[in-house]
């Protein structure tokens, strides 16, 4: 029982981070119909920039949470600039090209960013200073760290804020209108290019937050951390129904739970042949099952042609 509860807590933490990253994929897909494969690398850059700022400020004598906030802010700015630039140089020129073309440039951007990160920050793993309270608490036999609670609260508040932005503001209305029919939204005076740029800015900021949280949670950051995290988050987005914001959140949390529970029980299930480091098997097994039985995802609608 204590393993079960423990893995639920771990799964929720991991899942809320997947959800934040998945939102970046799903927002861009909703508006452009494009899988932004470079998004995972944006998350990685967020983690690395935050780490650099933390190291630079380590001797400044500022309180640790303040340093963390400054680092987070710097990461968000860097990622927003990066996301904006990617859209501008790799996707916008291909706006009317066949769908395969921007997919290829997305993969290209992803590789370029990964290599550049390796040149800048080296190929070694960096340990991330523990700036947030991370004391352990017993909770019905499970160990919960304060950091995990912080991650859950921050992720939940951020997602609630995003839902408000999308459903209750003029910008959100313009985003939904553009996602449904760019030509008609344009006719109504919505500037599609601006809305697309805003989408990348918001998605990248969420990615930066996810990168900082995930590196704080595991205590490490490295130049290729974005690859597998991006792939998982993409899986989460597809699981929930890509293009659907609520779906990305549900998909992220669900995937985190499946992975954590899978990791907790895989030893028992296979009689000790497979260990918890096979947890990735679950994520991609889920992806395959969803694609076979429900290609539009849990909350996705049947794909229909735009009018």
């Amino acid at each position: 029982m204590d393993i079960f509860l423990q893995q639920i807590v771990n799964g929720l933490t991991l899942g809320s981070i997947y959800a934040l990253v998945a939102l970046g994929y799903t927002m861009v897909y909703g508006i452009l119909g494009l899988i932004n494969f470079a998004h995972g690398e944006v998350v990685m850059v967020g983690a690395m920039v935050a780490l650099m700022v933390m190291k630079a400020l380590a001797a400044s004598g500022l309180p640790a949470p303040i340093i963390f906030l400054i680092a987070l802010f710097a990461a968000a700015i860097a990622c927003m600039a990066l996301g904006f630039t990617i859209e501008r140089i790799a996707y916008r020129p291909l706006r009317n090209a066949p769908r395969l073309a921007p997919l290829i440039t997305a993969i290209g951007v992803s590789i370029v960013l990964q290599q550049m990160a390796m040149i800048i920050w080296g190929r070694s793993y960096h340990s991330v200073p523990q700036l947030l309270p991370s004391e352990n608490h017993e909770f019905f036999g499970a160990q919960i760290t304060e950091l995990q609670v912080i991650i859950l609260i921050v992720a939940a508040l951020t997602m609630a804020g995003l839902m408000l932005l999308v459903n209750r503001t003029r910008l959100g209305r313009a985003m939904r209108a553009t996602a449904e029919n760019p030509a008609i939204a344009g006719l109504m005076g919505v500037d599609a290019n601006r809305i697309i740029a805003m989408t990348f800015l918001i998605g990248s900021a969420l990615g930066a937050l996810a990168g900082v949280l995930v590196s704080a949670n595991y205590g490490i950051a490295h130049h290729h951390m974005g690859f597998i995290l991006g792939l998982k988050a993409f899986t989460a987005a597809v699981l929930g129904g890509i293009g659907n914001l609520g779906g990305a959140m549900v998909g992220g949390v669900l995937l985190g739970l499946i992975e954590a529970l899978g990791a907790g029980y895989i030893g028992d299930l296979t009689g000790g042949i497979l260990g918890s480091h096979y947890q990735d098997v679950f994520a991609f097994f889920v992806l395959i099952v969803v694609l076979v039985f429900r290609p539009s995802g849990l909350m996705g609608e049947k794909v229909s042609e735009r009018a």
């Binding site: 503001t169 003029r170 449904e180 006719l187 109504m188 601006r194």
Partner: protein, 254 residues
């Protein structure tokens, strides 16, 4: 006084001359009908006029100023709004939100204001919502404001499209076959609505298949056939024009 003057409009699709030398002028405050057999170029003319298609020849003077080429949202800003033959609403947004999007052409709050919800932004947002509800009331579907557009009945979707077009504060409202697919009751309701628009000072350009509706409603009617204007006059004169009768019924050769 003419609100819109189209001069020698031409449009080709590859080797097909879809519009040839079409000139017409629409007076302020009138309901101007554009009819013609299937494939005569009515919708093409509409799309050229509203900037959805770039035109190949000619010019359009609207409200004393030449209209820019191929820029739909500048056309909206200049004061022309339209509806579509095949309804094009934002199906997954509510009726109210659909109309609120229409206000984008006339309102300007920057991104910063949208994120931080400044006082000016909140006030403008409230004004936008108020106006949207007024317009829904005007077209008679206020009770459907919170329903998704896709769940509205066909006739109500047409009304919603008109409300959304009105939200852009047009001087000229262009309706592309608004009665298509409507039953007799819905058509009668539509007629009342369009008459109300004229009473409120709007100029209306109406493309319609329903000849009875056009003849009963319009002040003047132009007839297109094979991309050329073959007649322009008051409804009674058009009805008896031999060229028009020939275009619609053909000549007695067999």
């Amino acid at each position: 006084m003419s609100l819109l003057e189209a001069k020698n409009i031409g449009k080709r699709f590859g080797g097909v001359q879809a519009l040839k030398d079409v000139s017409l002028s629409i007076n302020s405050g009138e309901i101007y009908g554009l009819i013609g057999p299937n494939g005569a170029g009515k919708t093409t003319f509409f799309n050229v006029l509203t900037g959805l298609y770039p035109r190949d020849d000619g010019e359009v003077i609207f409200d004393g100023k030449p209209l820019e080429l191929g820029s739909p949202h500048k056309v909206t800003q200049a004061g022309i709004a339209r509806t579509f033959q095949n309804i094009r609403l934002f199906a997954h947004m509510t009726a109210r939100e659909n109309v609120m999007v229409g206000r984008h052409a006339r309102t300007k709050v920057g991104v910063v204001g949208a994120v931080f919800r400044s006082r000016a932004q909140r006030e403008e947002e409230a004004a936008i919502e108020r106006r949207a509800l007024e317009l829904l009331h005007y077209v008679g579907i206020a009770d459907r404001a919170s329903g998704l557009a896709k769940n509205l009945s066909y006739g109500d979707q047409r009304r919603l499209e008109i409300a959304r077009a009105l939200a852009t504060e047009p001087k000229l409202l262009a309706l592309d076959e608004p009665a298509a697919g409507m039953n007799a009751t819905e058509t009668a309701g539509l007629r009342t609505l369009i008459e109300g628009l004229r009473r409120d000072g709007l100029t209306v350009l109406l493309i319609e298949h329903d000849v009875k509706l056009v003849m009963g409603l319009c002040d003047r009617v132009a007839v297109l056939d094979y991309g050329e204007k073959i007649a322009e006059d008051v409804p009674d004169a058009v009805r008896n024009n031999p060229k028009v009768i020939e275009a619609y019924l053909g000549t007695s050769t067999s």
